[in-house]
């Protein structure tokens, strides 16, 4: 799904965020990128989202060489990727449902189909009852779930998340991760940047550890918690798929 070949990213001023990084993520994997602040986690995600371009090396996403995606085609490219941000990046001038509907509106999905999918996505994150509320009235954890609903409403094959639990307490963090886990179960590839190693260990996913823009040691930890015990929302995932 994601293939980085000897990727280097140097920012103006000479700081090298990534140095000759080679990473491969398969379809259907759920992978965490860890490392200290400034290790290059965010830069890696930004290269995938085409917010930044590599100084050298290749980034392939779903068989597509991102180096060949021209500036005008970036919006179309981004629409195939779901993105979740640490600060949610919700729009507070409109209700939850409209926030979640935004990617569908951008993609030109019809009104009826859009509202159906918005409800399905909100149901997935357990916020169907709050669709008419303003995001500002929601807790941080709920806001992040709205952000996740927005990321998955277009049913992307790839979801990238930059510190999605950065502002959440451990309980809420776990809840968010479980939601991610459920999407992974239905085939979504996930790449999540996080520094919450204790939480990642609980989930038992592959970890890409970065240090100073280089690969530290790829590891695959054992499952500590059986995530399959997490109850599925009513109607199960078939409803969403």
């Amino acid at each position: 799904m994601i293939q980085l070949d000897n990727v280097t990213k140097q920012f103006p001023g000479g700081h090298e965020a990534l140095s000759g990084l080679t990473v491969s993520i398969d379809k259907g994997e759920m992978v965490f990128v860890t490392g200290h602040s400034g290790a290059g986690k965010s830069t890696l995600l930004k290269l995938i989202a085409l917010i930044e371009r590599p100084t050298s090396g290749q980034v392939l996403v779903d068989g597509q060489n991102t180096g060949q995606v021209r500036r005008r085609k970036i919006p179309k490219y981004r629409r195939q990727i779901g993105m979740v941000f640490q600060d949610h990046k919700l729009l507070y001038d409109r209700p939850v449902a409209d926030n979640v509907a935004l990617p569908l509106i951008i993609a030109g999905v019809g009104h009826r189909e859009a509202s159906r999918r918005v409800r399905a996505a909100l149901d997935q994150v357990g916020l169907l009852r709050k669709e008419k509320q303003n995001p500002q009235t929601l807790s941080a954890g709920e806001q992040q779930r709205v952000g996740i609903a927005r990321a998955i409403v277009t049913r992307p094959k790839l979801l990238i998340a930059d510190e999605p639990t950065g502002n959440l307490d451990p309980d809420l963090s776990l809840e968010v991760m479980r939601i991610f886990r459920r999407f992974n179960e239905v085939g979504v590839t996930l790449l999540i940047a996080s520094h919450d190693i204790a939480l990642i260990d609980k989930l038992g996913c592959r970890r890409i550890e970065l240090e100073d823009g280089r690969l530290q040691q790829p590891g695959h930890d054992e499952f500590v918690e059986d995530y399959t015990e997490v109850p599925l929302p009513q109607g199960g995932l078939d409803q969403w798929r």
């Binding site: 989202a49 981004r78 629409r79 729009l91 951008i106 993609a107 030109g108």
Partner: protein, 321 residues
């Protein structure tokens, strides 16, 4: 009817056609932009007022010129030729010529002012009465006042004048058109000046709207960044701002029309009095449908151009980081 129809329950949820979606999205965006306009009534009203005044000025000036042109146009029709005959002619000879000219198709009416009649009138009006009494003979010629028929074109008027001049009994043919021509020239200069002024004012509208849209873009910077981040194209992000420009232009031009019409309404009694003094059917030309539509069209186009410039200029600068 042998047409089977899928029931809604069975048929998969189909999205509407692309045109329908495009239209409904535009309608939604237009409504949202309108909503933002209404939520800031004071700021919006200020901008609309600026646009209205800026549009109303050249529109009103143009109307004034049009009215003058209409009045002077009626003067054109009323132009008479004064044909001064040779001094040696008798009254009956002059009458003969008058009849002859009167038979022409391009002449509506001929009036003979005999030399004696002219002298009497001149004595009365010039104040030289006593001096003129000392003259041994009447120095004035017989004069024909020839009124050309209204069907005449500018060309046939020149021809008529030439033919009247070339009559053997004619001394001079005088047409008092020069001052009318001068007046027309002045009107034309004013019209051009208004055109230039209108162009500059149009530029001002573009700047005003562009600046307003620029501020709006600044205010919604985060929103633009987020929508771009989740895959919105520049065209998508630009759309609400173009609609804002459209609304400003539309309401500005509508208010401009209102201002001009109100101005005309204020002028109406004065004009009526003037018309009364001249005992003429002088009426003020008002904005007709074509004028009104062009003002609205110009307003809308300027609004779109202004917002387009601002959007194109500032949208590229906002990229997700």
């Amino acid at each position: 009817m042998a047409v089977t129809r899928h029931s809604d329950a069975v048929a998969p949820v189909r999205s509407a056609g692309p045109v329908t979606i495009w239209l409904s999205r535009h309608t939604a965006t237009a409504a949202a932009s309108f909503g933002r306009l209404v939520r800031q009534p004071f700021a919006s009203l200020m901008i609309i007022l600026v646009i209205a005044v800026t549009l109303a000025l050249p529109a009103a000036m143009n109307l004034v010129i049009k009215n003058f042109a209409a009045i002077s146009g009626s003067w054109d029709d009323a132009l008479d030729f004064s044909v001064f005959l040779d001094t040696g002619l008798t009254v009956s000879e002059a009458e003969g010529i008058a009849r002859l000219i009167g038979q022409r198709a391009d002449v509506a009416d001929v009036q003979l002012i005999t030399a004696d009649a002219a002298l009497v009138e001149f004595k009365q009006q010039s104040g030289f009465g006593d001096a003129l009494d000392h003259l041994s003979q009447n120095p004035l010629p017989h004069t024909l006042v020839v009124r050309p028929s209204p069907a005449n074109t500018a060309q046939s008027m020149i021809l008529l004048r030439e033919e009247l001049t070339s009559l053997p009994e004619t001394d001079i043919v005088q047409v008092d058109t020069e001052w009318v021509q001068r007046f027309h020239a002045i009107l034309e200069i004013m019209q051009r000046a208004i055109l230039i002024g209108a162009g500059l004012l149009g530029l001002a509208i573009i700047v005003v709207i562009g600046n307003t849209i620029r501020l709006e873009i600044q205010n919604r910077r985060d929103e633009i960044e987020v929508t771009k981040l989740i895959g919105a194209s520049n065209a998508f992000v630009r759309r609400p701002f173009l609609w804002s420009g459209f609304w400003f232009g539309l309401f500005g031009s509508l208010l401009a029309l209102g201002l001009v019409q109100y101005g005309l309404y204020l002028l109406q009694p004065t004009v009526a009095r003037l018309a009364g003094l001249y005992q003429s059917g002088l009426t003020v030309l008002t904005l007709d449908l074509r004028d009104s539509l062009s003002i609205i069209g110009i307003g809308v186009v300027l609004g779109l151009v202004g917002s387009w410039f601002a959007a194109a200029r500032h949208m590229r600068a906002i990229e997700p980081k």
